[in-house]
Amino acid sequence: MKRLLRFTVNGHSHALDTSADRPLLAVLRTDLGMTGTKYGCGQGLCGSCTVLVDGKARRSCSLTLATVEGKDVTTIEGLAAGGVLHPLQRAFAQEGGLQCGFCTPGMIMNAAALLLDKPSPSHDEIIQRMEGNLCRCGTHVRIVRAIEKAATAVEGTR
C-alpha cells in the first residue's frame, strides 16, 4: 500500500511514495541516505536511533512513517545550524562524552529534546531523562557533564 507521504527532515521537505508502515529509521538511513542515526536494538530499548519529531525525542526504529506525516524531523545531521556546532555537540566533544561514537547521535538528540523542554535541567533531571539511552563504552559521567555545560551555554545565549 504505497502512498505519497510528506514530512520534513532537517528543514527539507520530502515526499516519498512508499508504505506508511515503514520504520522511520530505515527510511532515513536507506531512502534518504542519512546514516547519522543508528540502529542499536530495533525495539526502542537503547536510544541509538533517537531523533526529534516536532521537538520531542522519539525512537525512530519504532516509529512508522505514518506517525511523522506532516511533521518536522530533526536528525543529528541537522543539529548544527548553519555549520555551527550545537552547544551539545561542542560540549560532548570537549568533555569527552563519547568513545566509539555509535550511541552519540542518539544521546545528543535525546539531550537536545531535554534542553528544548528544560533549558536548565538539574543533575537528577539529566540522569532521569537520559536513563533510556545506553552507552557501552561507559562515557556516562562525561555525557552528564557535557549536557550540564551545554545547558549553561544555551542559557548564556538567551
Binding site: R22, P23, A26, R29, T30, D31, G33, M34, T35, G36, T37, K38, Y39, G40, C41, G42, Q43, L45, C46, S48, I76, E77, L79, A80, G83, V84, L85, L88, Q89, R90, F92, A93, Q94, G96, L98, Q99, C100, G101, F102, C103, T104, P105, I108, I127, Q128, M130, E131, G132, N133, L134, C135, R136, C137, G138, T139, H140, V141, R142, I143, V144
Partner: protein
Amino acid sequence: MSHEPDYLALTFSDIEVLPMLDRREFLKKVGSGIFVFVALGDLVLAQDPDGRRQQFRPQAPDDFNAFLRIAEDGGVTCFLGKTEMGQGVYTSMAQLLAEELDVQLDAIEMVMSDTGRCPWDLGTFGSMSIRYVGPTLRKAGAEARAVLLELGAKELGADASKLETVDGEVRVRDQPSRKVSYGALAKGEQIQRVVAGEVTLKEARDHKVIGRSEIARDAVAKVTGQAIYAGDIRRPGMLYARILRPPAHGARRTSLDTRAAAEMDGVRVIEDGDLVAVLHATPDGAAAALGRVRADFEVPESDLDDQNIFEALLADNARGRGLAKAGDLKVGEEAAAHFFDSTFLDGYVAHAPMETHTAVAEVGAESATIWASTQTPFMVRDAVARVLKMEAPKVRIIAPFVGGGFGGKGRSPQADEAARLAQLAGVPVHVEWTREEEFFYDTFRPAAVVKLRSGVDARGRMTAWEFDVYHAGTRGAGQFYDVPHHATTSYGSGWRGGGGPHPFGVGAWRAPANNTNTFARESQIEMMAAAVKTDPLEFRLRNLKDKRMIAVLTAAAERYGWTAQSPAGSRGRGIACGIDAGTYVAMIAEVDVDKNSGQVQVRRVVCAQDMGLVVNPRGARMQAEGCITMGLGYALSEDVRFNGGRIHERNFDTYILPRFSSVPEIEIDLVDTGVPEANGGGEPAIVTVGGAIGNAIYDAVGARLMQMPMTPARVLDALA
C-alpha cells in the same frame, strides 16, 4: 558542515588502494615524498614477542610495508592496521608520531584498519596498540626525522649537529631565517628508509606531545553524525540481507519453505547449504521477507543451563596448567591460624557493543572489498579469502569506525556472510545483525569457577595460597601478594576451541579472565583480613612487597580518604587490586545496600592506576572511567541465561547494562612510578570493579557474595 579548527575529522580519505606486499609497486603509484617502511617480520615480532599467537601470523613473504609518508605539501600520512573503536588510538598513535617527528598533530592523517593500505597487523585487542606497535611507530617517526635532518643539513649548508626540527621544519639553531619545511626537502624525489633496529627515541624529559591531553581527533565527526561505520557504507545496487537463524545453537534445519518470501516484490532468496537469506533494497523489506520464510528446526535436548553450568565446568576434567608455584602448601596450611576454602562463580556476559556485527561486501570475479565492523581486519581478510576462494591480497577489509568491540569483534563471521551473499547474488550486500542475532552469536565471556584455599596466621600474614581457576583463562590468575607457599593452576582455556561444556561460542571479553580471577582473589583477601580483624588496607600493605602495587594502593587510599572507620549504616567501602596488560590498578568502591530489596547502588569509585608512560592522559582517564562503568554490569546485573543452546537474552529488556542512574562518582588517579614504557590502558581498570564492589557489600551489610553478577536476589541470599 564546518569543523572546529581545533579538531580534525577522520575521513578515511579514499586514496588509491596500494598493494602493500610490493614496495616497488607501491612507489610507482604514489608521488614523491619521504617514505618510511617497516619490515613485516619486525612488525610481527613487535606484536607477538613471545610467539603465543603464531596461528594468527601472516603466511606472507617478509616484505616491507609503508608505515608513513611525508608528502611534498608537508602532510604526514601514517598507515596503521589498528582499529579505532572508541579507545582513542586514532589520537594517541598520532601523538606518538607527532612527538618523534616534530610536527603538529593536525598535520598527521591516520589511514587505519584497511588491509589494502596498511601494514599487516595482529588486531586490536589486549591493550596492545600503544604497548607493542607504539614503539615501532615512534621508531618510524624518529627514522624519518633523522632523514629530514640529513637532507636539511645539505639544503641549509649547515652541520646536522647545528640543526633542530620544529613544527614541520628543519631550522639552524638560533638562526630563525635559515630553515626549510619538511615537504620541500623531498624535492620531487622518492626517499625511502626502513625502520632500523636501533633508533634513538626522544627522552621522556623532552616530550611535548606525549603526555599532553588531547581531545579525540574523531570527536567532531562523531558528534555530527559524519563518522562512517560499516553499516553506513552504500554501494550501487546494494541489497540488504536478512539471514535465517536457528532457534538454538546446535539446532538442525528439517524443513524450509521460501516460496512466500520469493513471491514478494523485489525480494531475492539465496540458498547455499546452511546459508539461507533474503535480499531486498531496504532493510525493512528484507526483514518482512524473512518473516515469510518458513523453516522447522530440530533442537537437541539439553538440561544444561545457567544454574548447573558450574558443576559441568568442574566435571569437565580439563587439563590443568601450572602457572606459579613456590614453597610447600602443606607447610603453609599448618602455619595458618585461619584457613579458607572458597568457591567463586562467575556467569556468562555479553559484549553488547552498541553497533551490532555489520558488513558490506562488494565481490568481483578477481577481488573483493568488505567493510566490516571488526577488531581484526587481517584475520578477517584471511577468513573471507578462504570463503571466496581468493588469494588473501585480493581481499580488502576495511574497518571504518567500529562501534565498540570489547573483544567481541574478532572473528567477525558477518563478513563471511556478506561476502558469500555478495558473491552468490552478484551485487553488493549489506549484513547488519539484529540485536537478537548479536546476543545469539556473541562469543560470551565464559562462565568460570575459581577454587581458592588460603591461610593466614594470627599476625595477619598470609601463609598459603592455592588458586585453581576453571575455564576463565590465565590472565590475572597470578597473585602479587607476598606469600611463602603458593600454587596457581588454570584448567581449560576460556577461549573458543579451548574445551569446556559451553553450548555456544565463548571468547575474549574486555580483560579476559582477569575480572573473574581478580574478583576471587580480592574477595578472599578481605575474607582473611576480616578473620584477623584487620583493616583491609592495612592487611594488604602488610602482605605486599611489590612497590608499584603499594604505590597505587596508597594513592587510592589517600584520594578516597581511607580511615580505619567504616561508613555507618548500610554503606560500605571495599578495595580491590589487580594487574592487567602490565598496568597496576588499585580501586576503592563505596556502595549503599538496600537490605530489603538487595539493591546495590555504587556511590563512588576511586581508581589509582600506574600504566607507565601515559601518551594522552585525558584519553587514559576516559578509558579507565569507561572500564569502571562497564564493570558495574558484570559485577551487578549482566548475566546470560540459557537452556542448552537456547539463549534467553535477546535484547536490552532482559540483559541489563549499566545506565545513567547506576553510575557513581568516578575519580581516576594516574600514578607515575617512573616506568619508562607504556603499559595497557583499555582494560586494566575493569578488572577490579567486581572485587571492590563485592568487598564493599560485605563491609556495608556483612553479606559475602561468592558469585557474580551480584544481583539483588543473590545479595538477599547472602544476607539470609
